[in-house]
Subunit: 322 residues, 2 copies
């Protein structure tokens, strides 16, 4: 690594093989996912939508340097809004949200690259999904940089189905199995705030660079298999005004979570990230209502009573021979 001055518009921390290898994987992952979603949308003549692709680069002189590819599909047949972004940025000082666990790197130059997506389906029976994988590298000038990985995926149903929650969690567990049996329960516990959960990990570097990268890739690679079967299963279910209204209300809560609590969003905003890319996660339309109350036993009340609870979905299913 070249020592760099305060201005830090200079070479990336990991020029060469490592950065190129991770970047190559991430750009490919974005393309695979967006291609598959376009496949689900189907033929344009039949109302299938396509992603817009917006390649951007930060102008010289901005505190954060870097580039990315923002891909967004709006107004589709299956997806009302689907955003999937790749970004690769570097900055002079790691923002506070990223150094909570690494005080020795506070204020160090950093480099971050990742793919992040949130898909908002049109049919309220198809769950919203979020996935993110990222690598961060940081180091004070002259010292060897430290790399760590983060990511995960979570599923947010509007109307819950046990079968979908179980399938999603099984896919997550399978993606992590090769990296130690402790990973799925640990990363599941770390990711419980949103929907039926999923997995989330951060600051991950324990088994060394190669194994950590392999784990991140395994999670990224598992996304389509975890989500698309659920989309296929639910997208044809009929729905009406009642389900649409509940969907818009739940999206309001999702917006609240993303903007107020999500660490990735705050990292992006604090580090001067690109607002339009960060707001890729927003739904096309959302509603707020004061203290909505659904009758006990209604499918809307079941969402909270049964699905938005910490639950071992896989064990519950296997216990009940689902």
């Amino acid at each position: 690594m070249q020592p760099t001055g305060a201005a830090f518009d200079a070479p990336p921390l990991h020029a060469g093989d490592v950065a190129a290898r991770v970047r190559g994987y991430l750009v490919g992952l974005q393309a695979r996912i967006t291609d598959a979603i376009e496949g689900v949308e189907g033929r344009v003549e039949e109302g299938g939508a396509r992603f817009r692709s917006d390649a951007w680069a930060k102008p010289p002189g901005e505190p954060l340097q870097g580039d990315g590819i923002t891909r967004i599909l709006e107004g589709g047949r299956v997806f009302e809004r689907a955003g999937c972004g790749f970004s690769h940025v570097r900055g002079p000082r790691l923002p506070p949200s990223a150094t909570a666990h690494r005080p020795e790197l506070a204020g160090a130059p950093f480099e971050a690259m990742g793919v992040s997506l949130v898909f908002h389906p049109r049919n309220p029976y198809v769950p919203t999904v979020h996935m993110n994988v990222r690598m961060i590298a940081a180091g004070h000038p002259g010292a060897a940089p430290v790399c760590w990985f983060g990511g995960g995926m979570d599923l947010t149903p509007i109307y819950g189905f046990d079968e979908d929650a179980v399938h999603f969690h099984r896919s997550c567990r399978a993606a992590l199995a090769a990296f130690g049996a402790d990973k799925y329960p640990r990363f599941k516990a770390w990711c419980e705030q949103r929907g039926v959960g999923g997995i989330f990990f951060d600051d991950f570097s324990e088994p060394g660079f190669d194994a950590s990268l392999a784990m991140m890739q395994s999670v990224g690679d598992a996304f389509l298999g975890a989500y698309l079967p659920i989309v296929e299963r639910r997208q044809g279910l009929p729905y009406g005004e009642r389900e649409r209204e509940f969907q818009l209300y739940r999206r309001g809560r999702y917006v609240e979570f993303n903007l107020v609590w999500d660490r990735g969003t705050h990292f992006g905003l604090q580090s001067g990230g690109r607002t339009e890319s960060i707001l890729l996660s927003m739904p096309p339309l959302a509603a707020w209502a004061y203290q909505r109350e659904d009758p006990a036993g209604s499918p809307e009340a079941e969402l909270t009573a049964r699905f938005l609870q910490r639950r071992d979905w896989i064990e519950a299913a296997e216990g009940h021979q689902l």
Copy 2:
């Protein structure tokens, strides 16, 4: 003040006259404002909506103690959603967002009371408005507590009118005139991020308790006169799908601002405030679209080009004999 232990579910910092005086003002202000809004809504038989009133108290044992009155009107003739909350809370430790300017009070027991409102009109020609007035008192056990005041109001048009911006700013200036000619320009500069701005002040205690309280009251009292004439002027203007769509898009940006950047929201969330009350500010419905572009010269483009700019509205108007 009684020294209190860590649990701090004990007597308020300002038991007695001071708290009762400020509380009385605030509860009355909330009632005057909601009554006036119901007046604008008109007769129930003609579609005028009424506020629901929800008096709440924090259960014993929660970190934040206190009570409040949440008032919300939904689905009205003129206002699609109008939330106006009074709250009076005390907690064992002032949250970080409140102590940025007062490091000596970090972690001190505190008491906060205020009225906060956001009104979302139905007609896109009627601007969204936000107003907030509050008093905070804090002090380490055994030391004399420190009181300070904050608040302000700002106007967020969807479609801008010079006349409205000028009237709103003149009302703000008039509310502050008795407290020194420096106040309006200073507090205007402090409040520029949202809409055509307005005034905002915080950590205010310079002229002593009585004069600071009087200034807060003058701002609270000025709200209806600053806003209602604009509502009366615009609520009958005809609009269609195009204006509605732009309104929903602008509301999406408003949500982003409130949840990501607004210090009051963060104070509430960090201090364990009541989520439902905090989310009073959310619109009934909002939309997001990627990089919306409006043709130069269109009324939608004019909003950004002319109205969402730092501007001395009063001087511009008097210069042009508006």
